[in-house]
C-alpha cells in the first residue's frame, strides 16, 4: 500500500525499515478518516503557536466546566474545587495551578500560566481544533509523542490534572 505512495524506489530504500509499513498522514489528510491507533507526532513542536500561547491553557483550565461518563475520583475532586471559583473573573495564578495539581501526583511540572488575550492568542483556536480532530481519528488508542517539552507541557499538564490522559513516561 505504501509502495505506490512513493515517488520512486530509491526513496523507499532510504526509509528506516520500521517506517516502511507505517502510514503517515497530515491531520488535514486524516480528517474524516479513522484508524485503530493514532500516533500524534510533534504536534506541539511543529505548532505555529508559541510556548506562551500554549500556556494560556494553564490559566484557563481552573475554570473550565466539565462532566463526563468516564469520571474518576481525581477529576471529580478537581472539578469540585474548580467549581468554587467558576465565577471568579481573575485568571488562575501560578500558585492556584500548583495547589490544584498537588493531589494528582503528576510527573510533570506545572507550567506558568499566561493570561489570555483573544487577539494575541487567536492561533490557539485552530490549534485546539486540530488537536481535537487528530485525537478523534482513533478508535482504540491515542499516543501523543512530542519533542518540545515546553510547548507540550501546558496541554499535557491539563489533561493529566483532569485525569483525561495517562502518563506513558
Amino acid at each position: 500500500m505504501q509502495a505506490d505512495c512513493l515517488p520512486h524506489q530509491a526513496a523507499k530504500e532510504r526509509l528506516p525499515a520500521e517506517l516502511q509499513s507505517a502510514l503517515t498522514l497530515t491531520i488535514f489528510e486524516a480528517k474524516g478518516l479513522e484508524f485503530d491507533d493514532v500516533f500524534l507526532f510533534n504536534f506541539f513542536a511543529d505548532s505555529p503557536a508559541d510556548e506562551r500561547t500554549w500556556r494560556v491553557i494553564t490559566s484557563s483550565w481552573a475554570r473550565s466546566r466539565d462532566e463526563s461518563p468516564t469520571d474518576t475520583a481525581a477529576a471529580a475532586r478537581e472539578r469540585e474545587r474548580a467549581s468554587g471559583r467558576e465565577r471568579c473573573s481573575e485568571r488562575a495564578s501560578a500558585a492556584d495551578v500548583a495547589d490544584e495539581a498537588e493531589g494528582a501526583e503528576l510527573s510533570i511540572e506545572a507550567p506558568r500560566p499566561e493570561s489570555f488575550d483573544r487577539q494575541r492568542h487567536s492561533l490557539l483556536n485552530e490549534e485546539l481544533k486540530m488537536l481535537y480532530t487528530a485525537m478523534t481519528r482513533a478508535r482504540v488508542k491515542v499516543v501523543i509523542y512530542d519533542q518540545h517539552e515546553e510547548k507540550r507541557r501546558p496541554l499535557f499538564h491539563y489533561l493529566l490534572v483532569k485525569a483525561r490522559a495517562a502518563d506513558g513516561h
Binding site: S60, I108, L128, K129, M135, V143, Y145
Partner: protein, 209 residues
C-alpha cells in the same frame, strides 16, 4: 439552486473546522435562515401577500438542529480527553464552536497516552538493538502517524526506533476487554457502509516518504 429551500441537509462538527481562516457554526446557520425568513416576510408584505398565501415549501424556515450524541467510532477514554479540549474552546473562544452536549461512546477504553520521557534516544538502542532490520514492527495498516506537515513530520531513523520501541512497550500494557472487541466487531458492518473503516478507502497518494 434548490427549488425547495427547506430541503437542504447539513452535517458537521464545528470542533473540526480546521481549514485556516474558515469558521462555521450551526448556530450561525440557523441565524442566517431566520434572517432570510424575516426578509422574505417583508418582501411578501411589500407585495401585499401573507405567508399563508404561499405554498409552504416556498417559505424559508429555520432548520432544526439535531445533535448526534452517541459516538460510534471510539470509546469514552478518548472522548473524555476530546471533550476536555472542547471545554477549553468553549471557555476561550465561545463564538467559534457550537455548545453541544458531550458525545458518549458505547464503552470505556484506554485514556490517551502522553509520552513524557522522550529525551532518551538511547532507549531505542536498548529496546530494539542497533539494527533496525531486526526490530519488530507494530505499525500496521490500521495505525497512523499524524504529523503537522509532510516535510517537518519526516522521521529520522533514530527517532523512529524510539517511537516503535515505545509503541511496543505501550501495546503490551494495553489490554482491551472482550466486550470491547465484540462490540467493535459488530459495529464494523455500519462502518463499512460509511466506507471509512477500510485501508482501501484511505488516500493512496499522501505518503511523503
Amino acid at each position: 439552486m434548490c427549488v425547495d429551500k427547506n430541503a437542504l441537509f447539513f452535517t458537521g462538527d464545528t470542533c473540526q473546522t480546521i481549514a485556516r481562516g474558515v469558521g462555521f457554526r450551526f448556530e450561525d446557520l440557523t441565524t442566517m435562515f431566520f434572517q432570510l425568513g424575516e426578509q422574505q416576510r417583508k418582501e411578501l408584505s411589500a407585495r401585499g401577500l401573507r405567508p399563508d398565501d404561499m405554498p409552504k415549501r416556498a417559505l424559508v424556515q429555520v432548520p432544526r438542529v439535531n445533535q448526534l450524541s452517541v459516538n460510534y467510532r471510539t470509546h469514552n477514554g478518548i472522548l473524555g480527553a476530546a471533550s476536555q479540549i472542547v471545554s477549553l474552546l468553549l471557555e476561550l473562544f465561545p463564538h467559534s464552536v457550537d455548545a453541544l452536549e458531550k458525545d458518549v461512546g458505547h464503552f470505556n477504553g484506554p485514556l490517551p497516552t502522553l509520552l513524557t520521557d522522550t529525551s532518551k534516544d538511547d532507549l531505542s538502542i536498548l529496546l530494539c538493538g542497533s539494527d533496525p532490520q531486526h526490530s519488530q514492527i507494530e505499525f500496521g495498516a490500521h495505525q497512523v502517524v499524524l504529523v503537522r506537515d509532510q516535510v517537518r513530520g519526516r522521521l529520522r531513523s533514530a527517532q523512529w526506533r524510539t517511537l516503535s520501541a515505545q509503541w511496543r512497550t505501550l501495546s503490551a500494557q494495553w489490554t482491551l476487554s472482550a466486550q470491547w472487541r465484540t462490540l467493535s466487531a459488530q459495529s464494523r458492518t455500519a462502518e463499512d457502509c460509511e466506507g471509512l473503516a477500510h485501508a482501501d478507502s484511505r488516500p493512496r497518494s499522501s505518503c511523503p516518504l
